[in-house]
């Protein structure tokens, strides 16, 4: 008998989609209990278009091939002390931010997609989520392995997961993902699958990975390239989710729009950390944050939302405000870290004169006017031996948990400050976007574990900040924190390079 040729779609349907069945002995809703409470209406899971039709045997084969190549590079990197090829020891601080702030998010993505990969009632959607779940586990593990060699030669990487759960600025990325995972499964998919993976991922990964390439970091570049084909799958899943939800029922449209507004805002706040990495932390610059935002959001995202208009979806709320903020956020963020550099798990510094000129050139409308004078002042103080650290702990926005350092866009010298009263308590916000998110779900956000509040309440040891850093954060005080100048990182680098 001659076997009939099957096309990929039919084959995938037969191998995978038909595995499901109608329950006869138990209530199907009890097996998939979280599908309805968000108000999303799914009328027919069989309309799900599989975003990629990868069977497990093919998955094992391709991924194993990628892993073999990747680990060969890691081995060579360690053997040849590849860290000696980086541009400048300051660069490693971007890796510290990445490992303590971003890699744990890969872990949470693994967990979140395992949750949706178990909970969705449709087998096609479930399997796609499961594959993303295992990919995300791959990402956190390969990142830990890529940084493993750096950890042996630089400070500040050693206790990344302990730090992620505790350190004040790391609650920004942690709470972002906790928020998505604490939401229902459909909101999680819009938050992470669509808003994060599809709309914003290029603004996270391209800068870090190109940053690695421009700064001689082979290990990071290689895992970045290796993760690219995974990311391509994640992006198609994110897009399919949105289209599926919007096509299933018109009542889903306003819910999805609300989530897009929320997660776009939450996402851009999270990306603040990338903005400062690009503009300040990379010794060899790739492009400015402003340029990256224009290319990866304004152009690419603009086209996407034009495409989604036919479903009744509009641009995310406050996109116009973000267009103004791109001129400011990186400068405001690095200033916060510079002035709190004694409490950060990585080193900070004043940009070199050359770098200040680069910033002036890239931000002609704002840098000289608002930010350069600060750095000139900081330089003067440093020259006098009075490197400036602020004593006060910052107040945090209840929603995004970033210190209140952002300014009004019509008056960039005025700190932007919003508040809400809920059950007789006052809550503070950095922006209208963050206040609106809180006001929509106050019961959720009053739970925020705000690190500075926690320190004041005595929940993080103490009494002094240094006690918190040493005992609760487990930082090696004097090695992990403070300025790069005079740090053990810098000292070792000079010794390796034979410079005084």
């Amino acid at each position: 008998m001659a076997a009939k040729k099957l096309n990929i779609k039919d084959k995938y349907r037969l191998l995978t989609r038909d595995l499901d069945w109608e329950f006869s002995y138990q209530d199907h809703k009890k097996a998939f209990p979280f599908e309805e409470f968000e108000g999303i209406k799914i009328t027919d899971w069989s309309k799900w278009e599989d975003p990629f039709r990868l069977t497990m045997d093919a998955y094992w084969k391709y991924q194993a091939e990628k892993e073999r190549k990747l680990y060969a590079i890691f081995d060579a990197f360690a053997q040849n002390n590849g860290q000696l090829n980086i541009s400048d020891p300051r660069y490693v601080n971007a890796l510290k931010v990445f490992l303590t702030g971003v890699s744990p998010l890969e872990y949470q993505a693994f967990q979140g997609f395992a949750h949706t990969g178990r909970q969705f009632g449709g087998v096609g959607a479930r399997v796609a989520c499961q594959m993303q779940s295992i990919d995300e586990l791959r990402h956190v593990q390969t990142q830990v392995h890529a940084m493993s060699h750096y950890n042996k030669f630089f400070d500040g990487l050693q206790d990344w997961s302990h730090m992620h759960d505790r350190v004040w600025y790391l609650s920004v990325p942690k709470s972002f993902f906790n928020d998505a995972r604490a939401a229902g499964p459909f909101e999680f998919m819009v938050a992470i699958g669509f808003s994060f993976e599809y709309v914003l991922t290029n603004l996270l990964f391209v800068p870090f990975m190109s940053g690695a390439a421009y700064n001689g970091d082979m290990a990071t570049v290689t895992f970045g390239f290796s993760a690219q084909s995974d990311e391509a799958r994640h992006m198609t899943l994110g897009l399919e989710v949105i289209k599926f939800l919007l096509e299933q029922h018109e009542d889903n449209v306003p819910i999805v729009q609300k989530w897009i507004d929320k997660w776009f805002w939450r996402g851009t706040r999270l990306l603040t950390i990338v903005s400062m990495m690009m503009d300040y932390m990379l010794p060899n610059k790739v492009m400015s944050w402003k340029e990256a935002w224009e290319v990866y959001f304004e152009e690419a995202g603009g086209a996407l939302f034009k495409d989604l208009a036919r479903y009744g979806i509009r641009m995310p709320k406050h996109a116009d405000l973000i267009a103004k903020e791109k001129e400011h956020v990186s400068h405001q963020a690095w200033w916060i870290f510079y002035t709190h550099g004694h409490a950060a798990g990585f080193h900070t510094w004043i940009p070199t004169d050359e770098e200040l000129d680069w910033l002036s050139e890239k931000y002609p409308d704002t840098f000289d006017k608002y930010y350069r004078p600060r750095w000139e002042l900081a330089k003067e103080m440093e020259a006098k031996g009075e490197r400036f650290y602020t004593k006060a702990l910052p107040q945090l926005c209840t929603t995004c948990q970033i210190p209140m350092g952002f300014t009004e866009m019509d008056n960039p010298t005025q700190i932007s400050y919003r508040e809400s009263i809920y059950k007789d308590e006052r809550y503070h916000f950095c922006s209208d976007g963050c206040k609106e998110i809180f006001d929509e779900e106050p019961e959720k956000y009053v739970q925020s574990w705000l690190p500075v509040h926690q320190i004041f309440q005595g929940n993080c040891g103490g009494p002094d900040v240094e006690d918190v850093l040493r005992d609760y954060y487990r930082m090696n005080v004097g090695a992990d924190n403070l300025d790069i100048k005079g740090s053990p990182d810098e000292e070792r680098w000079k010794k390796w390079k034979g410079v005084a």
């Binding site: 076997a3 039919d10 995978t16 097996a31 779940s133 950890n151 990487l157 050693q158 906790n178 739970q447």
Partner: protein, 327 residues
């Protein structure tokens, strides 16, 4: 001219990450250790999940099993992602050449109509059991605690999807890609009396809430019984009936079962060694699910193999339970 090869020996500041050092001392760590221990958040969660507000996002209380340290569940295979996919890629390479050989030589033509009907009746419907196992392992992945066990559950879940797909391919080989064998097998699964006990049991595992209990019901009780019934006893029967070539198509599952029971046995041993409470709980779960499974599988085992088959499988299961120190 003499060439001097300089290899810089730089003194490392530390040998591994601090959390690994706290567990194993300041010495070089394995990739498994760095990729496994303490990866999952354990403190300071921001919001309770809307879908389960009585618990934290990551919470050890989603099972009644209690562990001092959830990382005691070390995987004897030391699978982290990279090690796992490379191991499975090797297995799939063998499977792929087996399937290709089988199809190229059209070995299906040596199988009698009667045996072919048996394969569709008894083997192919197991794709739905594998699908259940996929969900049950994803359940532990999502709600379990500690990377040591949740990553192993994820690998298991993905394996089960892979095996559901292999079983589907067996159907497609037998029906010349028409899909008729899969339709017939599904009809068996949905309607034939011999399958209803197992289908009801699968549905029951999917609504069971304690993830450790689900893992034991699926990965120990059901898997041990089905592995013996299908991949040993039914395989023997196919051999006797001249359909030994089907063994090429199920070799993956045979190898897989060896690999995975090694991990599962280690998990049980560790949980039992932790406390008498754990041991008692496991004993109770196993007794319950063993009873249900024996009842559910009885008609299937008898139709497929004869009256003695189930007893043999149960004996093997009991040996594993005893070896884990549960009875």
């Amino acid at each position: 001219m003499s060439i001097e090869i300089k290899t810089a020996t730089l003194e490392p500041v530390r040998n591994t990450y601090a959390n690994v050092e706290r567990r194993f001392g300041d010495k070089p760590a394995t990739r498994y250790q760095e990729a496994t221990y303490d990866l999952q958040s354990e403190a300071n969660f921001h919001y309770r999940p809307l879908w389960q507000p009585d618990l934290e996002l990551n919470d050890p209380r989603r099972t009644a099993i209690v562990m001092q340290d959830w990382y005691a569940f070390k995987d004897p295979r030391q699978f982290y992602y990279g090690a796992y996919v490379q191991q499975r890629a090797k297995m799939q390479e063998v499977a792929e050449s087996n399937y290709a050989f089988f199809e190229k030589r059209d070995l299906a033509r040596f199988i009698s109509d009667e045996v072919r009907a048996d394969i569709i009746r008894y083997l192919v419907p197991l794709r739905h059991v594998e699908h259940t196992a996929n969900l049950n392992n994803m359940y532990g992945t999502a709600y379990g605690f500690g990377t040591a066990i949740t990553q192993a559950l994820l690998f298991n879940g993905m394996d089960r999807l892979g095996m559901a797909q292999y079983l589907s391919r067996i159907g497609l080989i037998l029906d010349g890609n028409s899909g008729d064998a899969l339709v017939d097998a599904k009809q068996q699964w949905m309607e034939a009396d011999i399958w209803q006990g197992l289908r009801a049991l699968c549905e029951e595992t999917l609504v069971t809430e304690d993830w450790f209990e689900v893992m034991v019901a699926q990965n120990l009780v059901l898997d041990a019984l089905l592995t013996d019934l299908v991949y040993r006893q039914f395989d023997n029967k196919l051999n006797e009936q001249g359909a030994q070539d089907i063994g090429m198509l199920t070799e993956f599952m045979q190898l897989w079962n060896k690999d995975t029971s090694r991990w599962m046995d280690a998990v049980l041993k560790t949980a039992v060694a932790e406390s008498d409470e754990n041991r008692a709980l496991l004993a109770q779960w196993i007794e319950t699910w063993r009873g249900k499974a024996a009842e559910a599988l009885a008609p299937l085992a008898e139709a497929m193999l004869g009256a003695e088959a189930l007893a043999e499988a149960l004996e093997l299961l009991d040996k594993r339970i005893a070896k884990a120190g549960i009875k």
